[in-house]
Symmetry: C2
Subunit: 215 residues, 2 copies
DNA sequence: ATTATCTATAGATCTATAGATAATGC
DNA sequence: ATTATCTATAGATCTATAGATAATGC
């Protein structure tokens, strides 16, 4: 995502101004998306973003294109978060477990962003970008390493991804729950579904976690 | 849902005409909802429903109210489907398994309706109506009966419900998959997550199923 | 001089209602 | 006679663009 256009100029001040406007639009769209309010007008979006109405068309062709960009943006941030936290783990099952446990905790860190994911629903699980391809790789590697005992990695992805979305939905709906505790329980349950013993799963879910990266 | 208003008149012909119009609007809204096209105009909806534009306001105050009614309608139909198929099973774990296995197969029967559920996403899991309360009851009963070994029924609901949505998403995205086979595998995986042995789960998921009720 | 932003607005679209028409009730 | 439907339309809102303004580049 860091690769720029053909000519690799260093970003000029003008570029950065343009990028600021674009980011403001995406952030505003994300807020509406988190509330499920896709029926807002472009005017309302530009007002919320604090940019002139006409600026919208410098960046996007339609409201739908903006919302799509907002979803992509959240997925990009999520992927960066994940890649950061799992660096340094070798066991693919542990990578999987750490991702899962940390994502639940992420809900308490940036609930608005997670709400965008929830709004996108199970569609995130069949997208070619974002969390799905990574999780699939982890699951496939875990099967190969003999850590998971399941028939189909793809089905495993849907099971784990669906359960993850369910966890995020629960944490969003119940602000008083202990996010760490609930996330670890859910992770253990998924790992058991993948063929681990109760003890192995519980052990893997009680190991220390990395610091959450700043966002 | 069969209880009518205060005065329990038998439905007159006028009542039925009104009901037909309402049903046509809800069906049209459902079709748009299945495609995720909530930005359509009321005019487009009434055109699709084959009713006059003004009729809309005889039944709904706003587009949002109609879409909400369309979701409720799908949930009502789903609940009727579920209640029908699980009647006659005693073991709560088997009730759970049969619901799960049949819901996956339902995707091939009425994909449009299932798409409405998918569009509603994980929100269906925290609703007070529809599948969530039933599934929660099944899970609680299964824990009490010693069939499931999990710490929290609520979390179990999110795991199972999320995995179910994931399954439906997969079946929707991959029309060539064998829905029965995949549904049974997913069900077994969830049951293992709930503490059943691989063998018990596989056994419970290979038992004969009831005929799908006509819809 | 160039580029992106902002303001203003024309035209399109959309909503909500009023009044006419058609169906049913009695 | 009553009730729900349909058609037509006024007013509101929304989109897309044109032109003016402000910021940056060279």
């Amino acid at each position: 995502m860091s690769a720029d256009h053909a000519a690799e100029h260093p970003p000029t001040r003008l570029d950065r101004r343009k990028e600021r406007t674009r980011a403001a639009l995406i952030a505003a769209a994300g807020e509406f998306l988190a509330e499920g309010r896709t029926a807002v007008s472009i005017q309302q979006i530009t007002d919320a973003a604090g940019v002139g109405f006409g600026s919208f068309y410098n960046h996007f062709d339609s409201k739908e294109a903006l919302f799509e960009a907002a979803v992509e943006s959240v997925l990009d941030i999520y992927v960066a978060f994940r890649d950061e936290i799992v660096s340094g783990y070798d066991d693919p099952a542990e990578v999987f477990a750490v991702s899962f446990r940390m994502t639940g905790r992420l809900q308490r860190q940036i609930p608005e962003m997670v709400r965008v994911l929830l709004n996108e629903g199970t569609r995130v699980l069949t997208r070619g970008t974002g969390l799905a391809p990574r999780a699939l790789t982890d699951i496939e590697a875990s099967i190969k390493a003999g850590r998971f005992d399941i028939e189909s990695a793809q089905l495993g992805l849907m099971a784990a991804g669906g359960a993850l979305l369910g966890l995020l939905q629960l944490l969003d709906a119940e602000p008083d729950l202990d996010a760490g505790e609930v996330s670890d329980l859910m992770t253990a349950r998924v790992l058991r579904g993948f063929g681990m013993t109760k003890e192995d799963a519980a052990d893997l879910c009680s190991r220390p976690l990395p610091e959450p990266p700043a966002l």
